[in-house]
Protein backbone atom coordinates (compact mmCIF):
# COMPACT_ATOMS: atom_id res chain seq x y z
CA UNK A 1 0.00 0.00 0.00
CA UNK A 2 2.80 2.34 0.99
CA UNK A 3 4.58 1.66 -2.30
CA UNK A 4 1.47 2.63 -4.25
CA UNK A 5 1.19 5.98 -2.45
CA UNK A 6 4.82 6.68 -3.09
CA UNK A 7 4.39 5.94 -6.79
CA UNK A 8 1.34 8.18 -7.01
CA UNK A 9 3.10 11.09 -5.32
CA UNK A 10 6.12 10.67 -7.53
CA UNK A 11 4.00 10.59 -10.68
CA UNK A 12 2.09 13.69 -9.57
CA UNK A 13 5.33 15.55 -8.85
CA UNK A 14 6.80 14.60 -12.20
CA UNK A 15 3.69 15.65 -14.10
CA UNK A 16 3.39 19.01 -12.37
CA UNK A 17 7.06 19.69 -12.86
CA UNK A 18 6.77 18.95 -16.57
CA UNK A 19 3.73 21.13 -17.05
CA UNK A 20 5.37 23.94 -15.10
CA UNK A 21 8.39 23.77 -17.39
CA UNK A 22 6.19 24.04 -20.42
CA UNK A 23 4.50 27.16 -19.12
CA UNK A 24 7.52 28.97 -17.72
CA UNK A 25 10.32 28.19 -20.13
CA UNK A 26 9.28 28.93 -23.66
CA UNK A 27 12.52 29.53 -25.49
CA UNK A 28 12.71 31.48 -28.71
CA UNK A 29 13.58 29.28 -31.64
CA UNK A 30 17.26 29.11 -32.50
CA UNK A 31 19.01 28.14 -35.68
CA UNK A 32 22.42 27.30 -36.97
CA UNK A 33 23.72 29.59 -39.68
CA UNK A 34 26.51 28.61 -42.03
CA UNK A 35 28.35 31.23 -44.04
CA UNK A 36 29.80 29.69 -47.18
CA UNK A 37 32.45 31.76 -48.92
CA UNK A 38 32.58 30.98 -52.63
CA UNK A 39 35.02 32.37 -55.15
CA UNK A 40 34.39 33.38 -58.70
CA UNK A 41 35.93 34.90 -61.76
CA UNK A 42 32.88 36.76 -62.97
CA UNK A 43 30.32 34.01 -63.66
CA UNK A 44 32.75 31.10 -63.25
CA UNK A 45 32.96 29.55 -59.79
CA UNK A 46 36.55 28.78 -58.79
CA UNK A 47 37.74 25.78 -56.79
CA UNK A 48 41.31 24.80 -55.90
CA UNK A 49 41.28 22.65 -59.04
CA UNK A 50 41.24 25.90 -61.05
CA UNK A 51 44.49 27.06 -59.45
CA UNK A 52 47.91 27.09 -61.17
CA UNK A 53 46.58 27.40 -64.70
CA UNK A 54 46.80 30.63 -66.66
CA UNK A 55 43.13 30.70 -67.65
CA UNK A 56 41.68 34.00 -66.41
CA UNK A 57 41.79 37.35 -68.19
CA UNK A 58 41.58 40.58 -66.24
CA UNK A 59 39.99 43.87 -67.26
CA UNK A 60 43.30 45.08 -68.66
CA UNK A 61 43.49 42.04 -70.92
CA UNK A 62 46.23 40.23 -69.05
CA UNK A 63 45.98 36.47 -68.72
CA UNK A 64 46.69 35.17 -65.26
CA UNK A 65 46.61 32.23 -62.88
CA UNK A 66 45.85 31.89 -59.19
CA UNK A 67 48.40 30.00 -57.11
CA UNK A 68 47.59 31.15 -53.62
CA UNK A 69 44.62 32.97 -52.16
CA UNK A 70 44.32 33.66 -48.45
CA UNK A 71 42.38 36.51 -46.92
CA UNK A 72 41.25 37.77 -43.57
CA UNK A 73 37.81 38.91 -42.52
CA UNK A 74 36.84 40.21 -39.10
CA UNK A 75 33.89 41.16 -36.97
CA UNK A 76 31.12 39.19 -38.64
CA UNK A 77 27.99 40.86 -37.34
CA UNK A 78 26.24 37.57 -36.52
CA UNK A 79 28.81 36.83 -33.84
CA UNK A 80 28.73 38.76 -30.59
CA UNK A 81 32.36 39.07 -29.66
CA UNK A 82 35.22 40.39 -31.75
CA UNK A 83 36.19 37.74 -34.23
CA UNK A 84 38.45 37.13 -37.18
CA UNK A 85 38.73 34.35 -39.74
CA UNK A 86 41.49 33.39 -42.15
CA UNK A 87 40.17 31.89 -45.37
CA UNK A 88 42.60 29.81 -47.42
CA UNK A 89 40.94 29.04 -50.73
CA UNK A 90 43.73 26.84 -52.11
CA UNK A 91 43.68 24.63 -49.05
CA UNK A 92 39.88 24.83 -48.85
CA UNK A 93 40.24 25.93 -45.24
CA UNK A 94 38.02 28.39 -43.41
CA UNK A 95 35.59 28.76 -46.31
CA UNK A 96 32.64 27.70 -44.14
CA UNK A 97 31.89 29.45 -40.88
CA UNK A 98 29.17 27.89 -38.71
CA UNK A 99 27.36 30.05 -36.21
CA UNK A 100 25.28 27.90 -33.81
CA UNK A 101 22.35 28.94 -31.62
CA UNK A 102 21.34 32.10 -33.39
CA UNK A 103 17.87 33.29 -32.39
CA UNK A 104 15.44 33.30 -35.29
CA UNK A 105 14.94 36.87 -36.40
CA UNK A 106 16.25 39.39 -38.90
CA UNK A 107 19.90 40.42 -38.90
CA UNK A 108 22.11 42.76 -40.78
CA UNK A 109 24.89 40.69 -42.29
CA UNK A 110 28.16 42.54 -42.39
CA UNK A 111 31.84 41.91 -41.87
CA UNK A 112 35.13 43.69 -42.38
CA UNK A 113 37.71 42.82 -45.00
CA UNK A 114 40.98 42.78 -43.06
CA UNK A 115 41.38 44.39 -39.67
CA UNK A 116 40.40 47.88 -38.63
CA UNK A 117 43.30 49.93 -37.28
CA UNK A 118 42.04 49.23 -33.79
CA UNK A 119 42.18 45.46 -34.25
CA UNK A 120 45.30 45.37 -36.42
CA UNK A 121 47.68 45.03 -33.51
CA UNK A 122 51.06 43.54 -34.26
CA UNK A 123 51.77 40.00 -33.14
CA UNK A 124 48.69 39.51 -30.97
CA UNK A 125 46.84 36.80 -32.89
CA UNK A 126 48.49 33.41 -32.44
CA UNK A 127 46.59 31.75 -35.27
CA UNK A 128 47.68 34.42 -37.75
CA UNK A 129 51.28 34.42 -36.50
CA UNK A 130 51.35 30.64 -36.90
CA UNK A 131 50.00 31.01 -40.44
CA UNK A 132 52.80 33.49 -41.28
CA UNK A 133 50.29 36.23 -42.05
CA UNK A 134 52.15 39.08 -40.34
CA UNK A 135 53.25 42.36 -41.86
CA UNK A 136 56.83 43.53 -41.21
CA UNK A 137 57.29 46.17 -38.54
CA UNK A 138 58.94 48.46 -41.10
CA UNK A 139 55.49 48.66 -42.71
CA UNK A 140 53.75 49.28 -39.42
CA UNK A 141 53.25 45.65 -38.39
CA UNK A 142 49.87 44.05 -38.01
CA UNK A 143 48.61 41.54 -40.53
CA UNK A 144 48.02 40.98 -44.19
CA UNK A 145 44.43 41.38 -45.31
CA UNK A 146 44.99 39.24 -48.38
CA UNK A 147 47.72 37.26 -50.12
CA UNK A 148 46.74 36.66 -53.72
CA UNK A 149 49.66 35.18 -55.66
CA UNK A 150 49.79 33.93 -59.20
CA UNK A 151 51.40 34.36 -62.57
CA UNK A 152 50.46 36.53 -65.52
CA UNK A 153 51.61 36.74 -69.12
CA UNK A 154 53.69 39.89 -69.26
CA UNK A 155 54.42 42.23 -72.18
CA UNK A 156 57.32 39.98 -73.20
CA UNK A 157 54.86 37.10 -73.47
CA UNK A 158 56.45 35.35 -70.51
CA UNK A 159 54.86 34.07 -67.32
CA UNK A 160 55.82 36.33 -64.41
CA UNK A 161 54.78 36.27 -60.79
CA UNK A 162 52.46 38.71 -59.08
CA UNK A 163 51.82 39.21 -55.37
CA UNK A 164 48.57 41.10 -54.89
CA UNK A 165 49.01 41.52 -51.14
CA UNK A 166 46.76 43.94 -49.30
CA UNK A 167 47.66 45.49 -45.96
CA UNK A 168 47.01 48.73 -44.09
CA UNK A 169 48.43 51.38 -46.42
CA UNK A 170 51.59 53.01 -45.18
CA UNK A 171 53.28 56.11 -46.53
CA UNK A 172 57.01 55.76 -45.89
CA UNK A 173 58.07 59.04 -47.49
CA UNK A 174 59.48 59.96 -44.11
CA UNK A 175 60.74 56.70 -42.61
CA UNK A 176 60.84 58.28 -39.16
CA UNK A 177 57.23 59.32 -39.40
CA UNK A 178 55.16 56.62 -41.06
CA UNK A 179 51.68 57.67 -42.12
CA UNK A 180 48.94 55.08 -42.19
CA UNK A 181 45.62 54.86 -43.91
CA UNK A 182 43.09 52.26 -42.88
CA UNK A 183 42.47 50.23 -46.01
CA UNK A 184 40.26 47.63 -44.39
CA UNK A 185 36.60 48.09 -45.24
CA UNK A 186 33.21 46.94 -44.09
CA UNK A 187 31.01 44.88 -46.36
CA UNK A 188 27.29 45.16 -45.66
CA UNK A 189 25.31 42.45 -47.40
CA UNK A 190 21.91 43.65 -46.18
CA UNK A 191 19.27 42.00 -44.06
CA UNK A 192 18.86 38.27 -43.74
CA UNK A 193 16.13 36.36 -41.93
CA UNK A 194 17.38 33.49 -39.81
CA UNK A 195 14.96 30.58 -39.46
CA UNK A 196 15.78 26.92 -39.02
CA UNK A 197 19.15 26.13 -40.52
CA UNK A 198 20.26 28.86 -42.85
CA UNK A 199 22.97 28.58 -45.43
CA UNK A 200 24.27 31.89 -46.68
CA UNK A 201 26.58 32.14 -49.65
CA UNK A 202 29.03 35.05 -49.72
CA UNK A 203 30.62 35.44 -53.10
CA UNK A 204 34.01 36.94 -53.84
CA UNK A 205 34.50 37.92 -57.46
CA UNK A 206 38.25 37.96 -57.99
CA UNK A 207 37.94 39.76 -61.31
CA UNK A 208 36.77 42.85 -59.40
CA UNK A 209 40.18 43.24 -57.75
CA UNK A 210 41.52 44.19 -61.18
CA UNK A 211 38.59 46.13 -62.46
CA UNK A 212 36.52 48.61 -60.62
CA UNK A 213 37.12 51.55 -60.33
CA UNK A 214 40.84 51.04 -61.09
CA UNK A 215 41.75 49.00 -64.14
CA UNK A 216 44.76 47.12 -62.86
CA UNK A 217 47.85 46.90 -65.05
CA UNK A 218 49.82 43.87 -63.90
CA UNK A 219 52.77 44.85 -66.07
CA UNK A 220 53.14 47.92 -63.87
CA UNK A 221 51.84 46.72 -60.52
CA UNK A 222 52.80 43.11 -59.90
CA UNK A 223 55.11 42.62 -56.94
CA UNK A 224 56.37 44.63 -53.96
CA UNK A 225 52.93 46.16 -53.51
CA UNK A 226 52.99 46.03 -49.72
CA UNK A 227 55.08 49.18 -49.31
CA UNK A 228 53.29 50.89 -52.22
CA UNK A 229 50.98 53.43 -50.54
CA UNK A 230 49.07 54.35 -53.68
CA UNK A 231 48.67 50.75 -54.80
CA UNK A 232 47.21 49.80 -51.43
CA UNK A 233 44.63 52.57 -51.67
CA UNK A 234 43.69 51.45 -55.17
CA UNK A 235 43.33 47.85 -54.03
CA UNK A 236 41.05 49.00 -51.25
CA UNK A 237 38.90 50.91 -53.75
CA UNK A 238 38.65 47.88 -56.01
CA UNK A 239 37.77 45.69 -53.05
CA UNK A 240 34.51 47.55 -52.45
CA UNK A 241 32.73 45.60 -55.19
CA UNK A 242 34.37 42.23 -54.68
CA UNK A 243 31.87 40.71 -52.24
CA UNK A 244 28.18 40.06 -52.81
CA UNK A 245 25.41 38.01 -51.29
CA UNK A 246 24.80 34.71 -53.05
CA UNK A 247 22.18 32.03 -52.44
CA UNK A 248 20.41 32.07 -49.06
CA UNK A 249 18.38 29.04 -48.01
Amino acid sequence: MRKKYCLLILTFMLLTRCSEKKECCVQPEQSTVTLNFTHHWNELQITPQDFNEIKFTNENGEQLSIEKLRYLISNISLLDAKNHHLIDVGENAGTSITIPELTDESYTLSFRFGFSNEDNTDGTYQDLNSASFSVPEMLGGGYHFMQFDGKYIDNNNEASGFNYHTIRAVDRTDSDNLKFEDTSFEINLGTIVVANTTEIEIKMNLAEWFKNPNTWNLNELNTVLMPNFEAQKMMRENGETVFSLGVVN
Binding site: F51, G123, S130, M138, G161
Partner: protein, 352 residues
Protein backbone atom coordinates in the same frame (compact mmCIF):
# COMPACT_ATOMS: atom_id res chain seq x y z
CA UNK B 1 26.55 -23.20 3.85
CA UNK B 2 26.63 -20.19 1.55
CA UNK B 3 29.02 -18.13 3.64
CA UNK B 4 32.27 -20.12 3.13
CA UNK B 5 31.85 -19.74 -0.63
CA UNK B 6 31.47 -15.97 -0.26
CA UNK B 7 34.68 -15.75 1.79
CA UNK B 8 36.50 -17.90 -0.73
CA UNK B 9 35.27 -15.71 -3.61
CA UNK B 10 36.23 -12.51 -1.79
CA UNK B 11 39.72 -13.85 -1.10
CA UNK B 12 40.13 -14.87 -4.74
CA UNK B 13 38.99 -11.42 -5.93
CA UNK B 14 41.32 -9.66 -3.52
CA UNK B 15 44.40 -11.62 -4.54
CA UNK B 16 43.57 -11.20 -8.24
CA UNK B 17 43.15 -7.43 -7.87
CA UNK B 18 46.30 -6.97 -5.87
CA UNK B 19 48.46 -8.83 -8.38
CA UNK B 20 46.96 -6.73 -11.22
CA UNK B 21 47.69 -3.55 -9.27
CA UNK B 22 51.37 -4.40 -9.16
CA UNK B 23 51.50 -4.60 -12.93
CA UNK B 24 49.79 -1.30 -13.64
CA UNK B 25 52.14 1.65 -13.70
CA UNK B 26 50.93 5.10 -14.55
CA UNK B 27 53.56 7.06 -16.48
CA UNK B 28 54.28 10.60 -15.33
CA UNK B 29 53.05 13.33 -17.69
CA UNK B 30 55.95 15.18 -19.33
CA UNK B 31 55.86 18.92 -19.11
CA UNK B 32 57.07 20.38 -22.41
CA UNK B 33 59.36 23.35 -21.83
CA UNK B 34 57.88 25.84 -24.28
CA UNK B 35 59.95 29.00 -24.86
CA UNK B 36 58.22 32.22 -23.85
CA UNK B 37 58.18 33.50 -27.42
CA UNK B 38 56.53 30.33 -28.67
CA UNK B 39 53.90 30.45 -25.93
CA UNK B 40 53.24 34.10 -26.69
CA UNK B 41 53.18 34.01 -30.47
CA UNK B 42 52.11 30.56 -31.59
CA UNK B 43 49.17 28.24 -31.25
CA UNK B 44 49.66 25.13 -29.15
CA UNK B 45 52.01 22.39 -30.36
CA UNK B 46 50.55 19.24 -31.88
CA UNK B 47 50.51 16.39 -29.37
CA UNK B 48 48.40 13.47 -30.62
CA UNK B 49 45.71 12.37 -28.17
CA UNK B 50 46.83 8.77 -28.54
CA UNK B 51 50.46 9.57 -27.78
CA UNK B 52 50.68 12.07 -24.92
CA UNK B 53 54.16 12.94 -23.71
CA UNK B 54 55.28 11.13 -20.57
CA UNK B 55 58.58 11.11 -18.74
CA UNK B 56 58.90 7.39 -19.39
CA UNK B 57 57.88 7.66 -23.05
CA UNK B 58 60.34 10.48 -23.77
CA UNK B 59 63.19 8.68 -21.98
CA UNK B 60 62.42 5.49 -23.89
CA UNK B 61 62.24 7.44 -27.16
CA UNK B 62 65.63 8.97 -26.47
CA UNK B 63 67.17 5.56 -25.74
CA UNK B 64 65.72 4.18 -28.97
CA UNK B 65 66.87 7.23 -30.96
CA UNK B 66 70.47 6.48 -30.02
CA UNK B 67 70.22 2.68 -30.23
CA UNK B 68 71.87 0.96 -33.18
CA UNK B 69 69.59 -2.06 -32.72
CA UNK B 70 67.19 -0.20 -34.97
CA UNK B 71 69.38 -0.83 -38.00
CA UNK B 72 69.68 -4.07 -39.93
CA UNK B 73 73.28 -4.76 -38.95
CA UNK B 74 73.37 -2.89 -35.62
CA UNK B 75 75.72 -0.22 -36.97
CA UNK B 76 73.41 2.82 -37.21
CA UNK B 77 70.99 4.62 -34.98
CA UNK B 78 68.70 7.53 -35.83
CA UNK B 79 71.39 9.70 -34.25
CA UNK B 80 73.98 8.50 -36.76
CA UNK B 81 72.51 10.93 -39.29
CA UNK B 82 70.76 13.19 -36.77
CA UNK B 83 73.55 14.25 -34.44
CA UNK B 84 72.52 16.55 -31.55
CA UNK B 85 75.72 18.57 -31.87
CA UNK B 86 74.84 19.37 -35.46
CA UNK B 87 71.25 20.39 -34.76
CA UNK B 88 70.35 16.77 -35.56
CA UNK B 89 71.91 16.71 -39.02
CA UNK B 90 75.17 15.07 -40.13
CA UNK B 91 76.60 17.94 -42.18
CA UNK B 92 76.91 15.67 -45.21
CA UNK B 93 75.34 16.35 -48.58
CA UNK B 94 73.85 12.87 -48.55
CA UNK B 95 74.03 10.29 -45.79
CA UNK B 96 75.40 6.79 -46.19
CA UNK B 97 73.09 3.97 -45.13
CA UNK B 98 74.21 0.79 -43.41
CA UNK B 99 75.37 -0.67 -46.70
CA UNK B 100 77.18 2.46 -47.80
CA UNK B 101 74.49 3.55 -50.22
CA UNK B 102 73.57 7.21 -50.49
CA UNK B 103 70.15 8.76 -50.85
CA UNK B 104 69.31 11.86 -52.87
CA UNK B 105 68.18 14.12 -50.04
CA UNK B 106 70.03 16.05 -47.40
CA UNK B 107 69.35 15.04 -43.79
CA UNK B 108 66.82 17.42 -42.28
CA UNK B 109 67.53 19.00 -38.91
CA UNK B 110 65.17 18.06 -36.07
CA UNK B 111 63.72 20.74 -33.83
CA UNK B 112 60.40 22.41 -33.11
CA UNK B 113 58.67 19.53 -34.87
CA UNK B 114 55.60 19.71 -32.64
CA UNK B 115 54.79 23.05 -34.26
CA UNK B 116 54.55 21.60 -37.75
CA UNK B 117 50.83 22.24 -37.79
CA UNK B 118 50.10 20.55 -41.11
CA UNK B 119 52.10 17.53 -39.91
CA UNK B 120 53.72 16.85 -43.26
CA UNK B 121 57.28 15.76 -42.62
CA UNK B 122 60.38 15.23 -44.82
CA UNK B 123 61.56 17.45 -47.66
CA UNK B 124 58.76 16.23 -49.89
CA UNK B 125 56.05 15.99 -47.22
CA UNK B 126 55.58 12.30 -47.81
CA UNK B 127 55.15 11.39 -44.14
CA UNK B 128 52.06 12.46 -42.22
CA UNK B 129 52.75 12.72 -38.52
CA UNK B 130 55.97 12.20 -36.59
CA UNK B 131 55.07 8.66 -35.59
CA UNK B 132 54.60 7.71 -39.22
CA UNK B 133 57.81 9.48 -40.22
CA UNK B 134 59.84 7.45 -37.72
CA UNK B 135 58.75 4.19 -39.33
CA UNK B 136 60.32 4.78 -42.71
CA UNK B 137 64.11 5.18 -42.21
CA UNK B 138 64.34 1.96 -40.22
CA UNK B 139 63.16 -0.20 -43.09
CA UNK B 140 64.45 1.93 -45.95
CA UNK B 141 67.06 -0.23 -47.76
CA UNK B 142 69.39 2.71 -48.37
CA UNK B 143 69.11 3.93 -44.79
CA UNK B 144 68.95 1.65 -41.76
CA UNK B 145 67.79 -1.31 -43.85
CA UNK B 146 66.19 -3.29 -41.08
CA UNK B 147 63.21 -5.58 -40.92
CA UNK B 148 60.82 -4.15 -38.34
CA UNK B 149 59.89 -7.62 -37.09
CA UNK B 150 63.54 -8.35 -36.39
CA UNK B 151 64.06 -4.97 -34.73
CA UNK B 152 61.10 -5.65 -32.46
CA UNK B 153 62.47 -9.11 -31.72
CA UNK B 154 65.87 -7.65 -30.74
CA UNK B 155 64.22 -5.16 -28.43
CA UNK B 156 61.90 -7.76 -26.97
CA UNK B 157 64.84 -10.06 -26.19
CA UNK B 158 66.84 -7.33 -24.46
CA UNK B 159 66.94 -7.22 -20.68
CA UNK B 160 65.89 -3.56 -20.46
CA UNK B 161 63.35 -2.71 -23.12
CA UNK B 162 60.32 -4.83 -22.08
CA UNK B 163 60.25 -3.12 -18.68
CA UNK B 164 60.75 0.32 -20.22
CA UNK B 165 57.86 -0.24 -22.63
CA UNK B 166 55.72 -1.53 -19.77
CA UNK B 167 56.34 1.66 -17.81
CA UNK B 168 55.84 3.93 -20.81
CA UNK B 169 52.90 2.26 -22.50
CA UNK B 170 51.49 -0.26 -20.02
CA UNK B 171 52.61 -3.28 -21.98
CA UNK B 172 55.85 -5.15 -22.33
CA UNK B 173 54.74 -6.48 -25.70
CA UNK B 174 56.83 -4.35 -28.06
CA UNK B 175 55.76 -3.52 -31.58
CA UNK B 176 56.85 -1.05 -34.25
CA UNK B 177 53.98 1.29 -33.46
CA UNK B 178 55.09 1.69 -29.85
CA UNK B 179 58.71 2.14 -30.89
CA UNK B 180 57.78 5.01 -33.21
CA UNK B 181 55.45 6.49 -30.60
CA UNK B 182 58.33 6.66 -28.14
CA UNK B 183 60.73 8.15 -30.70
CA UNK B 184 58.11 10.75 -31.67
CA UNK B 185 57.69 11.69 -28.02
CA UNK B 186 61.42 12.31 -27.72
CA UNK B 187 61.48 14.28 -30.97
CA UNK B 188 58.70 16.57 -29.75
CA UNK B 189 60.92 17.62 -26.85
CA UNK B 190 63.64 18.88 -29.24
CA UNK B 191 62.87 22.56 -28.95
CA UNK B 192 65.19 25.29 -30.14
CA UNK B 193 64.20 28.80 -29.06
CA UNK B 194 67.12 30.40 -27.31
CA UNK B 195 69.26 32.10 -29.93
CA UNK B 196 70.66 35.60 -29.78
CA UNK B 197 67.75 36.84 -31.86
CA UNK B 198 65.27 35.27 -29.43
CA UNK B 199 67.02 37.08 -26.62
CA UNK B 200 66.85 40.28 -28.64
CA UNK B 201 63.10 39.85 -29.07
CA UNK B 202 62.80 39.29 -25.31
CA UNK B 203 64.72 42.52 -24.68
CA UNK B 204 67.70 40.71 -23.18
CA UNK B 205 70.31 41.75 -25.72
CA UNK B 206 70.78 44.04 -28.69
CA UNK B 207 71.72 43.33 -32.29
CA UNK B 208 74.78 44.58 -34.07
CA UNK B 209 74.20 47.08 -36.85
CA UNK B 210 74.93 44.31 -39.37
CA UNK B 211 72.44 41.90 -37.79
CA UNK B 212 69.77 44.61 -37.64
CA UNK B 213 70.26 45.56 -41.28
CA UNK B 214 70.29 41.87 -42.19
CA UNK B 215 66.94 41.43 -40.46
CA UNK B 216 65.61 44.40 -42.43
CA UNK B 217 66.82 42.81 -45.68
CA UNK B 218 65.07 39.61 -44.63
CA UNK B 219 61.80 41.46 -43.96
CA UNK B 220 61.89 43.88 -46.88
CA UNK B 221 59.59 42.81 -49.71
CA UNK B 222 61.80 44.70 -52.18
CA UNK B 223 65.01 43.01 -51.00
CA UNK B 224 65.19 39.56 -49.45
CA UNK B 225 61.43 39.10 -48.96
CA UNK B 226 62.34 35.99 -46.98
CA UNK B 227 59.59 36.43 -44.38
CA UNK B 228 56.74 35.22 -46.54
CA UNK B 229 58.11 31.65 -46.33
CA UNK B 230 60.60 31.72 -43.47
CA UNK B 231 58.71 33.29 -40.57
CA UNK B 232 59.40 36.51 -38.77
CA UNK B 233 59.66 38.01 -35.32
CA UNK B 234 55.99 37.00 -34.99
CA UNK B 235 56.57 33.44 -36.15
CA UNK B 236 59.57 32.17 -34.19
CA UNK B 237 59.55 28.85 -36.05
CA UNK B 238 61.24 30.72 -38.91
CA UNK B 239 59.49 28.51 -41.43
CA UNK B 240 55.98 28.18 -42.81
CA UNK B 241 56.49 24.40 -43.05
CA UNK B 242 54.98 24.63 -46.53
CA UNK B 243 56.24 23.52 -49.94
CA UNK B 244 57.69 25.91 -52.50
CA UNK B 245 59.70 25.86 -55.69
CA UNK B 246 62.42 28.35 -54.83
CA UNK B 247 63.90 28.44 -58.30
CA UNK B 248 66.73 25.95 -57.91
CA UNK B 249 66.25 24.28 -61.29
CA UNK B 250 64.68 24.92 -64.67
CA UNK B 251 63.86 21.23 -65.06
CA UNK B 252 63.43 18.69 -62.31
CA UNK B 253 65.32 15.48 -61.65
CA UNK B 254 63.61 15.23 -58.29
CA UNK B 255 59.89 16.08 -58.36
CA UNK B 256 59.72 16.57 -54.59
CA UNK B 257 56.23 17.34 -53.33
CA UNK B 258 54.86 16.66 -56.81
CA UNK B 259 55.85 12.99 -56.59
CA UNK B 260 53.87 12.76 -53.37
CA UNK B 261 50.70 14.59 -54.42
CA UNK B 262 50.76 13.40 -58.04
CA UNK B 263 49.99 16.97 -59.08
CA UNK B 264 52.43 18.33 -61.70
CA UNK B 265 51.80 21.79 -60.25
CA UNK B 266 53.71 20.62 -57.17
CA UNK B 267 56.76 19.44 -59.11
CA UNK B 268 60.01 20.91 -57.86
CA UNK B 269 58.50 22.00 -54.55
CA UNK B 270 60.21 21.20 -51.26
CA UNK B 271 59.56 22.10 -47.65
CA UNK B 272 60.86 25.45 -46.43
CA UNK B 273 63.32 24.51 -43.70
CA UNK B 274 63.63 26.61 -40.59
CA UNK B 275 66.46 29.10 -40.76
CA UNK B 276 67.35 28.47 -37.13
CA UNK B 277 70.72 26.86 -36.47
CA UNK B 278 72.08 27.27 -40.00
CA UNK B 279 75.54 27.43 -38.45
CA UNK B 280 75.23 23.68 -37.79
CA UNK B 281 73.21 22.40 -40.72
CA UNK B 282 75.30 22.91 -43.85
CA UNK B 283 75.14 21.95 -46.63
CA UNK B 284 71.85 23.52 -47.65
CA UNK B 285 68.75 22.80 -49.75
CA UNK B 286 66.96 19.47 -50.16
CA UNK B 287 69.91 18.06 -52.07
CA UNK B 288 72.64 19.79 -50.10
CA UNK B 289 73.90 21.54 -53.22
CA UNK B 290 75.09 24.67 -51.44
CA UNK B 291 78.02 24.30 -49.10
CA UNK B 292 77.85 27.77 -47.61
CA UNK B 293 75.34 30.43 -46.63
CA UNK B 294 76.97 32.74 -49.16
CA UNK B 295 75.99 30.32 -51.91
CA UNK B 296 72.42 30.21 -50.61
CA UNK B 297 72.14 33.99 -50.54
CA UNK B 298 73.72 34.29 -53.98
CA UNK B 299 71.16 31.81 -55.30
CA UNK B 300 68.24 33.95 -54.15
CA UNK B 301 69.97 37.14 -55.26
CA UNK B 302 71.20 36.15 -58.73
CA UNK B 303 70.72 32.44 -59.37
CA UNK B 304 66.97 31.85 -59.72
CA UNK B 305 66.00 29.44 -62.47
CA UNK B 306 62.66 29.83 -64.15
CA UNK B 307 60.19 26.95 -64.36
CA UNK B 308 56.44 26.59 -64.57
CA UNK B 309 56.06 25.93 -60.85
CA UNK B 310 58.46 28.55 -59.51
CA UNK B 311 56.84 30.36 -56.61
CA UNK B 312 55.41 33.77 -57.53
CA UNK B 313 57.18 35.13 -54.45
CA UNK B 314 60.49 34.74 -56.30
CA UNK B 315 61.09 38.20 -57.73
CA UNK B 316 62.76 39.35 -60.95
CA UNK B 317 63.33 35.78 -62.03
CA UNK B 318 64.36 36.81 -65.54
CA UNK B 319 67.30 38.64 -63.97
CA UNK B 320 68.06 35.72 -61.65
CA UNK B 321 66.76 37.58 -58.60
CA UNK B 322 66.77 40.93 -56.87
CA UNK B 323 70.56 41.44 -56.93
CA UNK B 324 71.30 42.33 -53.33
CA UNK B 325 74.31 44.52 -52.63
CA UNK B 326 77.40 42.93 -51.10
CA UNK B 327 76.70 44.74 -47.85
CA UNK B 328 73.11 43.48 -47.73
CA UNK B 329 74.27 39.93 -48.42
CA UNK B 330 76.85 40.08 -45.69
CA UNK B 331 74.38 41.60 -43.24
CA UNK B 332 71.72 39.05 -44.14
CA UNK B 333 74.18 36.31 -43.26
CA UNK B 334 74.94 38.02 -39.96
CA UNK B 335 71.23 38.09 -39.15
CA UNK B 336 70.77 34.44 -40.11
CA UNK B 337 73.58 33.43 -37.80
CA UNK B 338 71.96 35.34 -34.96
CA UNK B 339 69.42 32.50 -34.95
CA UNK B 340 72.11 30.08 -33.77
CA UNK B 341 71.05 28.29 -30.59
CA UNK B 342 74.08 26.80 -28.83
CA UNK B 343 72.05 25.89 -25.78
CA UNK B 344 70.00 23.61 -28.01
CA UNK B 345 72.93 21.67 -29.44
CA UNK B 346 74.51 21.33 -26.01
CA UNK B 347 71.35 20.47 -24.12
CA UNK B 348 72.28 17.42 -21.98
CA UNK B 349 68.72 16.10 -22.33
CA UNK B 350 69.34 15.59 -26.02
CA UNK B 351 72.76 13.91 -25.84
CA UNK B 352 73.37 10.19 -25.80
Amino acid sequence: MKKPYIYFFAFFLFTFCSSKEEEIYTPVPYSLKIPALFADKLIAPIIPADNPLTEEGVALGKKLFFDKKLSGDNTQACASCHSPKKAFTDQQQFSAGVQGEFGARNTMPLFNLAWNFEERFAWDGKEFGLEQQALEPVSNPIEMHANWNLVVQKLQESTEYPTLFLRAFGTSEIDAKLVTKAIAQFERTLISGNSKFDKYLLGETSLTQEEQNGFNVFMDEAKGDCFHCHGSNNNPLWTDNAFHNNGLDGTFQDLGFGAVTGDPNDNGKFKSPSIRNLAFTAPYMHDGRFATLEEVINHYSEGLQKSSTIDPLMKRVNEGGVHLSSQDKSDLKAFLLSLTDREFINNPNFQE
